[in-house]
Symmetry: D2
Subunit: 432 residues, 4 copies
């Protein structure tokens, strides 16, 4: 995860400012009221995100490396700690929406306070010992990736907050709608299998601990689709009774769907004779060429079974995606911000195979540690390893994923019933 060379302090400063500014940009269209609400326990209020990522810098950088650093508010430690149980007490996750204070304005003052102190620290980093400088840089880097992760969560969460409101308010009504009305026919790509290397190659840029160590796995020959599943294909599944046929479903998925009354992807609504879907640009008719998103693992798995196929493993996905990237190339994203107005996945057009930057793809792999996996030391080690039970891996990265998070070894993970991520699926099958 660490990389060896010391970044120049001006590059670091620029990176810091750009990331922090993007968070502000993202909340720009929101009213204060929008930033308070927690529409389900998985969701955090917008202002909580803004404060929590700030708390992260304060706790793991400022309080450890700045002498006489004045903590902004001692009580924020309890309010804005998320899951670092070794750091101290926490406000219960499911009650984040019960806090009207600090107000959004106070949170922004908190951000300014911490930004000032971090920028001063960066400016004076040359006066630190090399060990400290490296560690500060490493932690800032983690902190920035952490903030980027929360930028994606922030968009997922605010979509859920607004999308749960019967008024269906748009986050940014000016965002463009679907980009195509026709779908390219699906083609299965062949892979020979065999021993392949997977995981992050140490020393080749930032990664999380769970992406390594790089290691070999043995794959049987397989085929994997050259695009993801579309909303039109999902409608066929629904029309064919996909949500009513118990034989298509995992046992836990079936009971989940029955208990929750799940009959369509999240954000879909049946109105008279048409299907509507809520996006960050507001509610619109379902566009058949657009990839289906906001489905659970259970639904993805049932669809694949219905289609006579299966989900790829995370290594099959990675092996094939590797053939698509030139050596050392990193995929580019299109997260909302300067120069991008993305708010939903693109349709498969031309040669676009949608491997990166449109949606997270459920794989059939449980989220577990790689052989030889070692979590980071100390509290930062609570980051990834402690979630290794009951979840599945998703690969690729979505239209709301920050650029820096799009990489071939990135392992996202969710419980099989969670749907508020921009997640869909790509089909795979055995080569007979």
């Amino acid at each position: 995860m660490p990389h060896s060379a010391i970044e120049s302090s001006s590059a670091l400063l620029e990176h810091f400012r750009a990331t922090r500014a993007r968070s502000s940009f993202l909340v720009d269209p929101l009213a204060a009221e929008d930033m308070v609400v927690q529409s389900m326990p998985d969701v955090s209020p917008t202002k909580w995100h803004l404060a929590h990522v700030t708390w992260f810098f304060e706790t793991f950088v400022l309080r450890e490396f700045v002498q006489n650093y004045e903590v902004f508010d001692r009580q924020f430690e309890v309010l804005f700690n998320s899951y670092y149980e070794t750091v101290g007490r926490m406000h219960p996750r499911a009650e984040r929406g019960l806090l009207s204070r600090p107000t959004v304005e106070e949170v922004f003052r908190y951000r300014e306070h911490v930004d000032c102190a971090v920028e001063e620290l960066i400016a004076s980093i040359d006066r630190c010992s090399e060990a400290d400088a490296l560690e500060i840089q490493r932690r800032l880097e983690i902190g920035l990736h952490h903030e980027e992760q929360h930028q994606e969560l922030l968009l997922m969460d605010i979509k859920h907050v607004l999308g749960s409101n019967p008024l269906k308010p748009a986050y940014r009504p000016e965002l463009p709608g679907p980009d195509a009305s026709e779908t390219r026919p699906l083609r299965m790509l062949d892979h020979d299998g065999g021993l392949v290397e997977v995981g992050h190659r140490a020393g080749s840029g930032f990664s999380y601990d769970n992406e390594g160590p790089r290691h070999e796995v043995y794959l049987r020959p397989f085929r994997i689709a050259d695009r993801v599943v579309t909303s039109g294909e999902w409608l066929e599944f629904m029309d064919d009774g996909g949500y009513e046929r118990v034989d298509l479903w995992l046992a836990d998925g079936w009971s989940w769907a029955q208990n929750e009354g799940v009959r369509a992807p999240l954000y879909w609504r049946h109105d008279g004779d048409q299907h509507l879907v809520y996006s960050l640009a507001g509610e619109q008719p379902v566009d058949e060429a657009t990839p289906v998103v906001h489905i659970s693992y259970f639904e993805a798995d049932a669809f694949a079974r219905w289609a006579g196929k299966r989900l790829p493993t995370e290594f099959e996905w990675e092996a094939m995606a590797a053939t698509k990237l030139r050596s050392g190339e990193r995929p580019t994203g299109r997260m909302l911000g300067v120069g991008s107005d993305a708010c939903h996945p693109r349709s498969a057009l031309g040669s676009d195979e949608q491997w990166f930057g449109d949606l997270w793809e459920w794989t059939g792999s449980a989220y577990l540690g790689y052989p030889g996996f070692r979590p980071l030391e100390g509290s930062l080690g609570e980051y990834n390893g402690k979630f290794m039970s009951g979840q599945f891996v998703l690969r690729g990265g979505s239209c709301v994923t920050p650029n820096g998070h799009l990489r071939i070894s990135y392992r996202n993970f969710f419980y099989p019933k969670q749907r508020w991520a921009f997640a869909g699926l790509r089909l795979a099958e055995d080569t007979d």
Copy 2:
């Protein structure tokens, strides 16, 4: 409930404006964020109250008596209906805090829209038929009492929202603290019992349907305290193991207290060696002379048993209070607003017996209909009668009760476990 004479339209207008203005005054110190949160299912967000009382005028007055009235927003009907099930669909009560929209600003625009239309209607009331004029006036009167009820709820609710926050922000930090440090010794007042008349006397001003008909009840001789129970006396109860002695408690109360971990009144917090209490002015040490409030019926009942006494019935309370009011006199309150800075109950000072305007007093009477009770016709009849199971009556009126609600026949009611009202107790006993 209705009274016969037609109020002058200017008096009506003044009443309408004053009541609506008080709602605005009450939310003045709040941030937009404060007005969104629902800290428990019993609580409603401030902006919900502001919109709901407005919806009441729109639905029961404007839509029925103003030709071509333009509804502000059709969807508000679902969002801001509370429990008038016969009127139509409702947004689930427990999910009111999940709505960030309409924003506070939009709610105020809604209020203005409705205020304009109501004021126009009042101005033109002389042109209506007498029957219509009377009915409009009657409904406006109900609507204003309804808004006043919600003003008390609004203060109860915002106290709960802010008081649940670990930061313990004050609603109005400038409000004065406790007014005394010594308690007058408690004296038991004697009443001879016998046949007494209780309930609202038809034709003597506004009342709710549940306050009548006036009727006779037969009382045995009893004694009732000349003041309410203080926080100091409550501390004695706690020190004597009041919360640990099962023999003092009703069965449902005991299991409630165990399940919820109740060990002190709501808003009390033990910090080191002192007891703190949250009030609308912020957190302060418990003042022993101040009446105890924010207790459940279960706690009040257990305290009375511990004290070797009992709660009065609602009729005992009313019979004794009647001897304290000169004929036709109405008690005056001191709700926060122009000329009052009340935010907690006063101590018993001088001859003050605290019958009205300090706190609601739990009685030992179940909330049921009086003999001959008839609810109002139609949707407005859903107001009171449908809650007649499982609740207990409270009498008196609290420091956050609007003036117009302080009357000897007023019957407030809550479930025996509810604590967020400004409710305490007065002791009674049989005369042997």
Copy 3:
């Protein structure tokens, strides 16, 4: 509650033996498997009842008055205590059905052990001090009434256990079916109201603490039906949308009925085009002349509103019933046993007004203490007083109520949603 004269020891012995024998008779048709099951938290397994009433004699009589009494099994104290929290720890009520041991056979050995010791104590009662003899007699009397109460519960509970089984096994298939096919037209009886005495008259035989003190209440003139509501009338209510019309229901009742999917009385089942009802004799078509039973307070209250009437208060019920009993007369029951094969309420035939021994009648009175109510001292005082919140009073006594429990002052009580008692309703109304 106590009565003064000392019963002869042979009469006491006979009473003891007869009551204990009836419990054995009642479980005769059951398999061991039937006696283990707890079909809902309100229900207790049959063998729990058999052991609990025995534990009562062991704890409150034998352990206190028999020197060197050898407790049968120390662990039974935890298992078979019910709610006497002051006596010690208890096995959780909702987990009574998780205990396979002690087996039914062991429970019967427990009963024999205690029976022997009690019979010896009775035989030697003359050697006790008079104070002790009186107290022993008083406690045995309470214990026998306690066992009789549990005999009714046992039948209610086993009906629920067997009636919940899809196989619908009969408790006693040989029991006779409905006794009539036509209903007498309902007539309203007039009562003038005024000051009436209610409650148990001290010194006139056994009663529970909650039946006194006898006291005066002031009643307005009222009318009350000369028979209870029939299943045929209930079908009219159902056909008229009684379960779908929110305006007929209390708020808590409506939400209960919606959450539980209540659309008919308990034990009714719709099969094709007929309504079936499960009785202790098995499943049969609903007989229209038979009283409706196994309804909640909420349903009874909604029915009365639908019928344009109301439920009587418990004092109206008692005042009218008093006019039906000759002075000092006690009603006779017909509980299953020697000489009776009753297992459901009789239809109103001839002059039978069904005041006693057919079904419990919901009244509109909350279950609270009478003026001057004093619970028994010590653990036995936990019997009745601690349930005085949230419940309603039922009067009369049912076809499974032991004879000794049929008296005009008897106050049964249940939560308004409970339905497994043999409870129905009688209509009342104000005299205009």
Copy 4:
């Protein structure tokens, strides 16, 4: 799964009778009451197991291959279907303990009825077509393995029923206690890793669908312990605060342990200054040399982290176990029955490495399908594949596992919080 050769009908008959007889043998010490209780939703009543395995033969063999077969009771189909959702309606799993009927005696009559019919079918199998004969044989074989699985469940379940009872009754008090008081020091065995074959080899005897296809996996060098973890070692973990140190636990495990108050393995009880453990022979002091069992995956995982090691993957386990079995050898078990009195795992004595027949060992592998996995066709395909989410694999087989289920490729699976299986752990680590 199927094997090709047709078994002789006499061998088949003998196998059938022996398996069915063992079920009867296992319930021999139980009272009827024991066989009714469901002590938690995971547990089924004993008589349900006895009926369910019988229903399996009736449904999948008799009703399909015996002309004019007379179904014993049509309603049993709903009561004793377990999870074959494609077969029809089911009685809810969590309510199996609410059924007192059919009684144990009736269930045994059901078994006799089906046994007769199956034995007749076997006797006449030669008269079937070869396809039918093969299919009948295949289904009987599945049915017998199914019954054997339920024999293990039956013992797990009855242990839970009896062990949850405060009386702690023994299943068979005559069963022998612990067999050793000293533990062999733990030694780590080395494996070189590389490409290894895992999974069931087609054609080599019975297996379930989830054990294949046999395939290659690539392993890094690893070390694995030569025995399982003992109760004494578990006490060290407890003494070292293992249950209080959040850093040792998976996030879901920590919240599970806090919510459930887990502080020791299931069936352990702290009494004064000693630890007691309930076994099928009754409650006894914890024996330090005995393997720890009845722990969750979460606990096993926390222990391994505490010990500075990890759980093996299922393939590491299989690879090392393979080196311990001579080619083609099958491990032998010691399930309770003729010639065995096992009721808890043996200590590691002499050269015993405890790979088979003592306890199930949690592995770090999620329960998912092997590459190329195909479930059986039709309803029987619901057997294993539909549970492939959220569970972990266990290997080895326990002291209550039938002989026929001990094989190197067998994959047991449970949710990570489940503890009522005889499950413990064996440590592993990377070879540096």
